[in-house]
Amino acid sequence: MRNFIILFNKEMKESLRNGKWIWLPIVMMVIGMMQPITSYYMPQILEMAGNLPEGAVIDIPTPSGEEVLIATLSQFGTIGTLLFVLALMNVISQERQTGAIVFVVVRPVRVFQYIVSKYVAQLFILLVAFAAGYLFTWYYTNFLFNYVPWILMLGSLGVYSLWIVLLTAVTLLFGTVLRNSGGIAGMSILFLAMLSLLTTLFPKYMEWSPSNLSTETSKILIEGEWGSSTLLVSVSTLTLSILFLGLAVYLFKKLVRFGN
């Protein structure tokens, strides 16, 4: 536990120094605000952009607040995922590339403590950034559209956070297997994309897939309920994340060499 806290604090300090603690939440907040604002001004934007024939009437139904939240989460699912994977790709590989990791592993530190401290620290930063962004979305949505009950907002936030739990585990796993940052980011994105693709192609066999988390959050927001499918997807996502972390620890012990 002591080692874990020391290593966790070091990650926090590092993320403060390199600015991750600042730029990541700001970017998420901007993305979070953008969606409700562009939805709100969509008619004007279209009017300005299109060469509409004289007298054409633009008639787009105004989305509900819940729909705006869903659209934002889908934004987070694409741009956010990409951003998070890029923000995580150097977490282990950089220390390996420079060799600074040697100063940690020559001390009585267990691989498990090293990996898990990094995982928890990075996940914490990402979740705070995500929550900050989503809270802004909620605030703007309530203001511009209609009030979405806070319990629904919290429910969707919680369930969607599991996606971040998974993507952090995936990126750390590739971070222990590969040395090259680009490779780590590329493989992580590819893996997550494949998961989504398979889920859309074979919905029958992929009911457990973490990619269904976005469907579950939509269900929560629109229908205001979470059923057994939510539980299934949540449990399988958590299980997969733990599995990937365990695999990362195992492979780290097996593959990672220090020095020449």
Binding site: G99, V106, R107
Partner: protein, 297 residues
């Protein structure tokens, strides 16, 4: 005895970096691990430091049956790279905490160690801006911060300029009295300056292990070169302490004695045989000669 190494070897895929080697490290000794580049020095040290698992054999710390000996070891890698965003003080604090040095003691050790490696003036500067020599000294500081039983240093002076080299060697000399030191180098002179024991490694095989004195003694041929004004004409041939005799010309001879103590008798015999001694020289082998002999063995 502090560490006993038995039949330890390391295989990387098809390449054998270290063939089974056995040696022991005496408590309080200073040992130099000598050998050319690629001899397996770094691999050996990394196995001792717990960074690499030996393919076979055991490394045992006497009085500690635990498998994890890392808390008793201080290690300085060959090319130390740090967390550049930390200051020297922050890095040592981090290192000390990870080595479980109690808080109060760590504060004291931090001051002592920073002063010892003469980095107290730059302790609040970012490591990213440090010179090679400063980084090497910081590396030394993190290795000895937790007062380990065994200090393992991989080529601590190779990358340094002459001043930095002298600095680090002097620091090692001061540390000798407090801890057991094992360091690798490919330069014999560095070993000679601070250490009493040496291990010689070549092509992953242990060529020699023992004291420097022992090496000198074992490989000293005790040769003497003599020159006389008159031709020698076999005046020395019947001496019973003579091991070898080699005539360079009729006035000059190189002899090898069973013991150097016989050299007086040698001179006496010459005088008794009415030869005037023109030149007398002890042809002592230098340490380099001994080193070369061992390595080519």
């Amino acid at each position: 005895m502090l560490v006993t190494v038995q039949y330890v070897s390391k295989q990387f895929k098809k390449h054998t970096a270290v063939h089974p080697i056995s040696f022991s490290i005496g408590k309080g000794r200073c040992i130099a691990l000598l050998g050319p580049n690629g001899a397996g020095k770094t691999t050996t040290l990394q196995m001792l430091a717990g960074l690499l698992k030996p393919t076979s054999g055991t490394i045992e710390f006497v009085g500690n049956k635990q498998i994890d000996n890392r808390s008793q070891i201080g290690f300085l890698p060959q090319h130390p790279t740090f967390f550049n965003w930390m200051t020297a003080q922050e890095f040592l604090q981090f290192a000390g905490e990870l080595s479980h040095v109690p808080k109060k003691q760590l504060a004291i050790r931090l001051k002592e160690t920073l002063a010892f490696v003469r980095l107290e003036d730059v302790r609040n500067k970012k490591i990213g801006g440090f010179s090679g020599g400063m980084k090497q000294r910081l590396g030394l500081a993190q290795a000895l911060l937790h007062e380990p039983e065994l200090l393992i240093l991989d080529e601590p002076v190779s990358a340094l300029d002459p001043t930095g080299r002298r600095d680090v060697l002097q620091l090692l000399d001061q540390l000798k009295s407090n801890m057991t030191i094992l360091f690798s180098t490919h330069i014999l002179h560095d070993a000679e300056q601070v250490c009493e024991d040496i291990l010689m490694l070549k092509d992953g095989r242990l060529k020699w292990s023992g004291t420097l004195e022992g090496l000198k003694k074992e490989y000293n041929s005790l040769a003497i070169k003599l020159q006389t004004k008159e031709p020698i004409n076999g005046a020395l041939d019947q001496l019973d302490f003579m091991e070898e005799i080699e005539y360079v010309d009729s006035f000059t001879v190189k002899v090898r004695l069973k013991s150097l103590a016989n050299s007086n008798q040698l001179v006496q015999t010459l005088i008794e045989n009415k030869r005037t001694l023109a030149h007398f020289e002890l042809l002592q082998d230098s340490l380099e000669d001994a080193f070369m002999k061992v390595m080519e063995r």
